[in-house]
């Protein structure tokens, strides 16, 4: 049998065990655990009894050395970190998650992203990758054969997906923030207007990209669904936080349907923050005029 690219002799049985239970419930880790270790046993052909043989131990060590380690530094609510967590979950990848306190950033974060000092950072076998969209493409390329592809195969469709991802970042997320924490009424108003324009435009984008199917990528979730996914809870909380109704059945029926269907999917459920919790948190931070 093969394990992590190593071919093991036929007499070696593999038993995967979760070695560390989850310490605290976090929406970002997979429910079952944080890391897995593989114990290798040899079975006696005569009795079927399993013993941990020295050769098996050696092989186990080799396997452990080749285990792919993914670690995500993020926050439970940040739209950019959420999109990476969504991507990892949709691809069925195991990773360790570290929640960052943005007011007190970890040494690991500061070392891993010295230029921007921001989350998300994906650390793959000790090597950091920064910038959420670059991380998504990295995941898609490295784990090409694991789970669904995030980006489509066709170059034109890929270019279109990249176009809309840039649009989401520059025309939806940035103005949304201005609407929420802009210093003056004028700033917040302007942010609100720009965000409303963006959601209407994205309604059109969804129609164009999905071609009548449930997701931006079609029948299955893809790059744009994951990119937009990070904003779902924020969009849902907008009315309460900013007094602005972003989506409605008249102007943005497709986006509403998309949010519902996306939110129902297993990997999304694991990652997406609870809207009420998010709203509460955001209100508190705004009142404190603190960093979100």
């Amino acid at each position: 049998m093969a394990l992590h690219g190593l071919t093991l002799p036929p007499w070696v049985d593999v038993w995967a065990a979760r070695t560390r239970p989850v310490a605290e419930a976090s929406p970002m880790t997979r429910p079952a655990g944080r890391q897995s270790a593989h114990f290798l046993y040899s079975s006696s052909p005569a009795t079927g009894q399993r013993t941990q043989s020295p050769v098996a131990v050696q092989v186990a060590e080799e396997v452990a050395a080749k285990v792919d380690e993914l670690k995500l530094l993020g926050t439970w609510r940040g739209p950019f970190a959420l999109r990476v967590a969504l991507a990892l979950n949709f691809k069925g990848l195991i990773y360790e998650y570290q929640e960052e306190d943005l007011a007190n950033k970890s040494d690991l974060l500061l070392e891993s992203n010295p230029v921007n000092k921001k989350v998300p950072v994906l650390i793959h076998n000790g090597v950091p990758i920064c910038e959420s969209l670059a991380i998504l493409e990295y995941i898609d390329e490295v784990y090409e054969r694991r789970g669904p592809s995030l980006l489509p195969a066709d170059p034109y469709e890929r270019a279109r997906a990249r176009f809309w991802a840039a649009y989401i970042d520059n025309k939806l997320v940035a103005p949304w923030w201005k609407m929420f924490v802009g210093k003056t009424d004028k700033d917040r108003d302007e942010g609100g207007k720009q965000t409303l324009v963006a959601v209407e435009t994205l309604e059109g984008a969804l129609e164009e990209c999905s071609k009548g199917k449930p997701f931006f990528a079609g029948d299955e979730v893809g790059y744009l669904d994951v990119v937009m996914g990070g904003m779902v809870a924020w969009v849902k909380g907008t009315e309460e936080l900013c007094g602005v109704q972003l989506l409605d059945t008249g102007k943005t029926p497709r986006l509403l349907a998309w949010m519902e269907q996306f939110g129902e999917l297993g990997p999304a459920k694991v990652v997406l923050p609870d809207t009420a919790r998010l709203v509460e948190f955001a209100k508190t931070k705004r009142a404190q005029k603190a960093l979100i």
Partner: protein, 229 residues
């Protein structure tokens, strides 16, 4: 190889984003019809093919538009990939991610800073923007050291994605020097970038695509008349 009829580029001679795309097309040896746009008086063609932003560059391939310069460069690399033309993006996923990180950094941090120098209304504002630009360039100096690995370009032995992403801005640094006597890339502060800039300017693929500084100065003056109050 695309025939001229299949491929069109809507552009502006002095736009670094357009120059970036032209450099990519040149690297691939692809021919296309170039259609200069007046950004102060946008054409129907531009509005039709980029209704969302109404900006250049727009690449039109078999009648379908591709917008956003970095997305266009990746598209060009993918469509005219494999075989003889050189690859623009590196092959290794980690190197690709690094190149994409820094290209995003150039567009998000460097561009607004130097445009700020060009559009500054007061001396104070200009000084602040110059300062910001220099700080960003220091990071890019470090990036060059890491990415080039002792070779001539960010992309290694030959021009690559990040070289294009940053390199297309160089003629504007010369323009700003001409207009305001500010030295943004200099041998003292950023020696690696200074020598890279020289090599980039001489690279075959990009050589004839850089517009005359006079044209950029003219455009800058027009921008200032429109935007600076």
């Amino acid at each position: 190889m695309a025939r001229e009829g299949d491929l069109k580029l809507l552009g502006l001679v002095v736009s670094p984003f357009v120059v970036r795309v032209r450099m990519a097309l040149s690297m691939k040896g692809v021919s296309y019809e170039y259609i200069e746009q007046d950004v102060f008086n946008k054409s129907e063609l531009l509005i039709r093919y980029n209704p969302v932003h109404k900006k250049v560059p727009v690449l039109i391939h078999h009648g379908k538009p591709i917008c956003e310069s970095l997305a266009i460069v990746e598209y060009v690399d993918e469509v005219w990939g494999g075989g003889a033309p050189p690859s623009i993006l590196p092959a290794d996923p980690y190197e690709r991610a690094t190149a994409r990180f820094w290209a995003t950094y150039v567009d998000d941090k460097l561009f607004p800073a130097w445009i700020g120098v060009m559009k500054a209304a007061t001396e104070e504002e200009k000084a602040e923007k110059v300062s910001q630009t220099l700080a960003v360039l220091l990071h890019l100096e470090e990036a060059f050291a890491k990415c080039s690995n002792g070779k001539a370009f960010f992309g290694g032995d030959s021009v690559g994605y990040l070289d294009l992403a940053l390199g297309c801005n160089l003629f504007w640094f010369e323009t700003l020097r001409e207009m305001f006597d500010v030295e943004l890339i200099d041998e003292g502060r950023t020696p690696l970038l200074a020598s890279w800039a020289q090599r980039f300017g001489e690279a075959a693929a990009v050589k004839d695509l850089v517009p005359n500084v006079d044209k950029a100065v003219e455009h800058a003056k027009k921008m200032r008349r429109v935007f600076v109050h």
